[in-house]
Amino acid sequence: MIAQQLVNGLVTGSVYALFALGFTLIFGTFKILNLAHAGVFMSGAFIGYFAVLNGLPLWLALVLAMIGAGLVSYLVEVTAFATIRGSGQIEFGALISSIGANLCIMSVAQRLSDTKVLRFPFGTFPVEFYEFGPVRFSFLQIIILVMVMFLLVVMMLYLYKTTFGRQIRAVSGNERVASLLGVNPALVYFQTFFISGALAGVAGILIGLSFNSIHFYMGEPYLLKAFVVVVLGGLGSVHGAVVAGMLLGIFQNLAVAYLPTALTETIIYGLLFLVLLIKPSGLFGSEGVQVGVARR
C-alpha cells in the first residue's frame, strides 16, 4: 500500500517538478515570479486537446502542445515583461503584470471551452496496467516518468553543456556585461521563456490526460504548489526544483491517504511558511536573501 502511494507520489512529484522547473528557470535568470506560468501550463493542455479533437495522433499533439505553450510563454514575456524592463520596480511590477497576463490567457481559454470542463475523446490514450510486485503502474504513469526524466536530462545538458545554456547563465548573472561580451539578450529571453513554456506545456497535457479533465482554471493549484516546490528547492535552482517537486509529490500522496485533503494542504503551506522563516534560500538555493535593515 505504501509502496503504491510512493509510486503515485513519484509520478505526481515529477509533474510538479516539471512545472516548477520552468518557473524556477525564469526566476533564476530574470528574478521574476512569472504567475502566468499557470496559464502557460493550461494552454499546453488546451492545445493538446484541440489537436487530438482534430484527429491528430497523440504524439503530434504532445509536440504541438510543447511548441504552442512555449510560444504562449514568449508572448507573455513580450507583452508583460519586456515593457517594464529597465524600470526600478521589476520585482513588484513583473509580478502584477504576470497576474494580468495570466488573467488574459485564462479568459481566452474560458471562451474557447465555453466555461465547460473538456475531456479527451475516449480511446485517446490506451488504458493499460503493469504489475511490478506490490505496485501497479498505469501505462500513462510510466510515460510520464520516462518523459519527465528525459526532459530533465535534456535540460541539464542544455544549461550546462551548450553555448546557449551558458549564455542564459551569463545573462542571469549580469545582463549588460553579457551583452557586451556578445550575448544577444533578445535571443536569451526567447529561449528561456520558450523552454520554460514548453516544459509547462508538456506538464499540462500530461495532467490533462491523467485526470482526463481540462479546464481554464487548472493551472492555479499547480502554481500554488509550485511556490512550495520552488522555495523548498531554492529559488533559481534547477536541481532544487526537481528534488523538492518529487518530495512534495510523495509527501502529498502519502498524507492524503491518511489525512483529509484540507489538512494536507494546511501542512504543505505551513511547511512553506516555515521554510521561508528558517531558510528562505531553500535546500539548494544560493540566493542571498535580503533581510532588511539590521546590523550585519
Binding site: 535593515v293 546590523r295 550585519r296
Partner: protein, 253 residues
C-alpha cells in the same frame, strides 16, 4: 553636549579585515575630518556607527551612552545623524516632505493620538511643516519646497539632504563626502554652513576626498588607509606625515 568616541573598532567581512583597530573622537562644537584613499574603509566606519553594520571588536560611545549594538533608529534617537555618499533622498516626496521626515525623531504626539486623530496629532503636522519651511528659507531653498526631490540639480539635492540631517537636531553629524562633485564656490557655501552648525554645539565628522576643503575646516584630522588609522592630528601635522603622503600618491586633489 557629548562627544562620539570610537575605541578599538574593527570590522571583519569573512576573511577580509575592512577596518582594524580604529580609535577616534568627534568632540562637540568642532569639525573633525576623516580622510583616506578610496576603499580605505571610511564609509564602513560610518555604517558601524549608525547601526548598519555589526562591530567585530570595539565600542562606540556617545558620552556615557554605549551605542555599539544599537539599531539604526536607536542611534538616530540617541542624536547621531548622517548624510550619504550617494545622495539618498526620498524620490517620490517633495523637498519639503523630505525635510519634514527629518523631524520624525522629535514627534511629540502619541501613536494613539495619530491613529485616532486627536488634536495633539492634528496640530503637529502643520507645525512640522512650518519648521520645515523655515529650514528651507535658511538654506535658500524655499523656492523648491513643492518640487519632487528626484528632479533637482545635484547641488540642490545635496542641500536637501543637509537640511534633512539638520532637521533631526543631532548632537553628532556624520557627513559622508558632502561636497563631492561641487565646485569651489558651492563647497565654500556648504563649508560656512558646517561652521555655523559646529558653532551651535554639534560635533561634525567630515569625510572627504577634497583635502583642501578638509584642511580649511577641520581642527583635527584622522587618516585611514586600508582600514587602519595611519595618522591623526591637526591638518598641518597630518599633511606633512610621510605615511599619509605615501598613501595618497596619485590621488591628491
Amino acid at each position: 553636549m557629548p562627544a562620539l568616541v570610537l575605541s578599538n573598532v574593527s570590522k571583519r567581512f569573512g576573511g577580509l579585515l575592512a577596518v582594524s583597530d580604529v580609535n577616534m573622537e568627534v568632540p562637540p562644537g568642532r569639525i573633525t575630518g576623516l580622510i583616506g584613499p578610496n576603499g580605505a574603509g571610511k564609509t564602513t566606519v560610518v555604517n558601524m556607527i549608525t547601526g548598519l553594520l555589526k562591530l567585530t571588536t570595539g565600542s562606540v560611545k556617545l558620552g556615557e551612552r554605549d551605542i555599539t549594538t544599537a539599531e539604526a533608529h536607536e542611534v538616530a534617537h540617541a542624536g547621531v545623524s548622517r548624510t550619504f555618499q550617494n545622495i539618498r533622498l526620498l524620490p517620490e516626496a517633495t523637498v519639503l516632505e523630505n525635510v519634514v521626515i527629518g523631524f520624525h525623531v522629535h514627534v511629540k504626539s502619541s501613536l494613539f493620538a495619530q491613529l485616532v486623530g486627536l488634536p495633539s496629532s492634528l496640530r503637529e503636522t502643520p507645525q512640522l511643516f512650518e519648521r520645515g519651511w523655515k529650514l528651507l528659507e535658511r538654506f535658500g531653498m524655499a523656492r523648491y519646497a513643492d518640487h519632487p526631490a528626484g528632479g533637482l540639480a545635484y547641488g540642490h539635492q545635496r542641500r536637501v539632504e543637509m537640511m534633512r540631517a539638520v532637521a533631526t537636531n543631532p548632537q553628532i553629524l556624520l557627513l559622508d563626502e558632502p561636497v563631492a562633485g561641487m565646485n569651489d564656490v558651492e563647497a565654500a557655501e556648504l563649508g560656512e554652513v558646517f561652521r555655523e552648525l559646529a558653532a551651535s554645539g554639534i560635533g561634525l565628522l567630515l569625510i572627504e576626498h577634497n583635502i583642501r576643503f578638509v584642511n580649511q575646516l577641520c581642527q583635527q584630522v584622522y587618516v585611514l588607509d586600508s582600514g587602519a588609522m595611519i595618522a591623526s592630528g591637526t591638518p598641518q601635522e597630518v599633511m606633512h606625515n610621510p605615511a599619509v603622503i605615501a598613501a595618497y600618491l596619485g590621488g591628491k586633489k
